[in-house]
Symmetry: C2
Subunit: 554 residues, 2 copies
């Protein structure tokens, strides 16, 4: 009987974000056919995706084969692994499998998005269970959030291991190290393919332990007399724990500011993933009226996002917290590419308010949650797969990760560098091949209520409008006589400043009248108007607004 | 007789870019009044300046006082110091003073922009000359371009020193160190105010010597068997020299690709600022047909700019150079904030082409041309001014630079942290004060032919259009009967994908008909249509396109 295992990346290869991988088993008895999904993440829009709120994976293949899909295993609670759930669960409606903290973060997120009736099976971080033909084993990995796992999936063809987001942190904040023993055991049993986190494939050496932040916090806390404000991601539970630890050590009260941060902290404290004395917490109004300075405020804004608490404080727009001289701010984050301008703007505004600000340019306020090259080699060496598949990274990271595997002796033909929508097909003779772009895996853009209705045409128009605006001419023409009955009326925005462009607009009207006189009897009046107007406007301004004639034939 | 010296930053404080400072002398005998200008730079548009080509300083104050302006002294040939010249020289038309290489770079730029009749006085890098009441002395500074100077301006009130862009490079590529002796001499003579480069005020320690790049190039050259492509700024003459040196050492031919790079290299070789054996250069077609691999291509693209040679090569769009496996690429630059996404995209495409790529994440391919904190302290300690004015930096850099001065014993009241348009007024009792926003210094945006005609209104519209597009409804209404005579016709772009939005458009037409029936007799029909349509579209999509009703009353 011929059997096939198909590994289908639907997100997260060739990009940092919206991670999703489908594993599909097929054999001659089609009754066994089944699919499981690893992760369901979102991604922030790239700069060219104007006006888009967020990006999620394309699940059309999964919807087509809905009957085969047995469930989604979530490796950990970061947005790039859970953020698509509110959009895809209502359509796919399959059970979720996640560890306790991850399940808690998913519940907070689904509630916020008013998604009900999700089935979430809570699993331990060293779980083993069967889903159809897939035997699932999870193993703990250290990352910048507790309770993260990697996944080993054993099928009749062999075992596939997915590393999850990992580092080999020798001193993780929650005390739980990446499960060397399980990885070694899997390696000893024999692994067909390893998918491994490539994020830092361009970083030599080892990623520092999350624990170095404790030293940084201690140094800053020792120096600061006023309030301390720490900005980080709401899901960065390990960082929040270190802020709480520093507050306890230096006997400061703690105020959690912002909805997402509060929801996550409350949930993590309840589940026992954050260790804090409840007496230490104070409300924002108490932090605001405090005069002792012995206060720590923890909030979002590590990326300078305009909607974050920190950016609002920097702009004097935050309802609860007003910055004052003597405040010390720690931006405990590193920039996600594309966010640098937002971060710099927020930093400048914080300095304007007279705050002392620490950021990554001159202090270790952040460490990565992802393995560097030497750790990536460890992962490969422990698991010793037949096939190596770098995942979770931009294309260059995948290539550099592949080169690391080659340094370890892997032959190029046993390494699959793939992109979203490629299918890696492994057969029961442990042969592998790639079917390029075999499955639809386009970026699905979310804008307002619309999911997936914004495509290249709309984006191209937005880009055109952003560059040079539009120029619309409205006129009514008697098609028999060629006479202009009303208009031309001009509406233009984003092109020129109208009050100062009188002669330009008058010139445009003359162009319209001349073109109408020449072409009114043609079917092609609109096309002629568009061409003549575009040429006139370019000649006059060297700009190319979107030109739209609206001709009413009377 | 009362005398006043006014220091007027018109660009470059509170931002990195478009440097320009005016120094104005006034006394009771108005006949002596005079202005000189230091630098005339441009800046790349910030992300929110949609569709803008570049940004230059506001010279309206200088035009108002045109008769007093004696000249522009240019400190060095980088874009942020010379880039505004093609736009302001035709309007201001005053002599330029610059060292030889700087003058050469200005000439290349003016020629490219078809600006003729500029008067450029070439000065040595240790010059002394008189302009009206100003005695000008320049002194050499090491930077990432040769022939850079700082400026000391002595007036009847005292001496103001401007550092220029500097570092204390102990081993500069051109062998010319920052002129310690002159700085010490100025300090001994007594300096009223120092304006000093704040770019790296958040970098502890010393900036590495430009010479470390020689080691990096040697390592890469030693490892590479195919062609080597080095991307950097066309004005980075020191980096180009190091690439030429490495090529000579490893006996490779050199191909300069791209107009701006070729113009600058030709000029710098002619003036003796680039040292290269003419026999070593080959043409692009020779580099393309070379099979030895013993070739170095030097081109632009260190910021991943889509119009640069490197980005075109990465996209397979370059007319002369086609990448091939075995090519090695060095991105000899660090990202200017805001450019990270472009750089990453170019990097990924280069990896896709099979190239080996070195960039700053894992190799010292770039060093800054600006002083770090310890060097900034040296500058202050040598010059020992009465007043300290941090310039050339974002607001946070100015604040951190000011804090360095405070560490050195300066009192806060002797430090002026200013923004463009503030005026620092020093009197003959060596008292100083700041007149906040006393002079117009807005960003002047260049878009196509237009200089300064794009303002906040146009930018706000472009931003709105970029987010959600527009929705225009055209209709003719008989204002007596309320009957719709023609239309409604709808034009929408950047909002929804029309072919899939039939029901939305139909719904919008119903809203228009209902609103017209209710309000046709009012003067407020357009306003009512706008409000009703906006509400309907938001309810249906959660997007807010720009809604414009065009009602023709018949």
């Amino acid at each position: 009987m011929s059997k096939t295992l198909r590994i289908i990346p639907l997100g997260g290869v060739g990009e940092i974000g919206k991670n999703m991988t489908a594993l599909e088993y097929r054999d001659d008895l089609a009754v066994n056919d089944a699919i499981i999904i690893l992760d369901a993440g979102m991604m922030f829009p790239e700069a060219h995706m104007l006006g888009v709120d967020l990006v999620i994976p394309d699940i059309s293949y999964l919807l087509e084969h809905r009957a085969k899909v047995l469930g989604i295993i979530i490796t950990h609670g970061h947005e790039d692994h859970i953020g698509a759930l509110p959009y895809i669960l209502p359509r796919l409606n399959v059970p979720l499998y996640a560890t306790r903290l991850t399940a808690g973060l998913i519940q907070v997120k689904l509630k916020l998005n008013k998604v009900r009736d999700a089935v979430i099976e809570v699993i331990p971080d060293r779980a083993a269970f069967q889903l159809g033909p897939f035997q699932i084993e999870t193993f703990h990995v250290s990352h910048s959030i507790p309770d993260g796992v990697g996944v080993a999936v054993t099928t009749p063809i062999g075992t596939v291991v997915h590393s999850g987001d990992f580092k080999f942190d020798p001193n993780p904040v929650d005390g739980a190290m990446t499960d060397f023993a399980k990885l070694a055991e899997l390696g000893a049993r024999g692994v067909l393919a390893l998918m491994s986190d490539s994020t830092n494939a361009d970083s030599p050496g080892h990623t520092p332990s999350e624990h170095v932040i404790a030293d940084t916090f201690a140094r800053v806390f020792a120096l600061s007399e006023g309030r301390i404000i720490i900005a980080t991601f709401a899901s960065n539970i390990s960082r929040i724990q270190q802020a709480l630890d520093a507050a306890a050590r230096f006997n400061r009260k703690v105020c959690i500011v912002g909805r997402s941060m509060q929801d996550n902290v409350r949930m993590a404290v309840e589940l026992g993933y954050l260790n804090a004395d409840p007496q230490r917490f104070i409300r924002a109004d108490e932090a605001e009226h405090d005069t002792s300075g012995q206060v720590v405020i923890i909030c979002t804004g590590g990326q300078g996002e305009p909607t974050s608490a920190l950016a609002k404080m920097a702009n004097r727009e935050h309802k609860q917290v007003t910055l004052r001289p003597g405040d010390t701010i720690i931006l405990s984050a590193s920039a996600i590419p594309g966010n640098e301008e937002m971060i710099n703007k927020t930093l400048n505004n914080l300095f304007r308010e007279g705050a002392t600000v620490y950021y990554d340019r001159f202090l270790d306020v952040h460490v990565s949650g992802h393995a560097s090259q030497e750790e990536q080699k460890w992962m490969i060496n422990l698991v010793r797969p037949k096939f190596f598949i770098p995942v979770h990274g931009e294309y260059r990271h995948l290539v550099m990760h592949a080169r690391l595997a080659q340094e370890l002796g892997y032959r190029r033909e046993n390494i699959f560098i793939v992109e979203n929508g490629d299918v890696i097909e492994l057969d029961d003779h442990t042969r592998g091949r790639v079917l390029r772009q075999d499955v639809s895996a386009t970026d699905v853009l979310v804008d307002g209520i619309g999911v997936g209705d914004i495509g290249n045409v709309v984006l191209r128009d937005r880009h055109h409008l952003a560059q040079d605006g539009f120029f619309i001419a409205v006129l009514g023409v008697n098609m028999r006589t060629g006479e202009i009955v009303f208009g031309p009326e001009i509406e233009t925005r984003g092109f020129v400043y109208e009050p100062e462009a009188e002669s330009l607009l008058e010139g445009a009207k003359q162009v319209i009248r001349a073109a109408t006189a020449a072409s009114a009897h043609d079917m092609g009046l609109s096309a002629a108007l568009k061409q003549e107007l575009s040429a006139y406007l370019y000649k006059t301004t060297h700009r190319r607004p979107m030109v739209i004639p609206v001709v009413t034939a009377l």
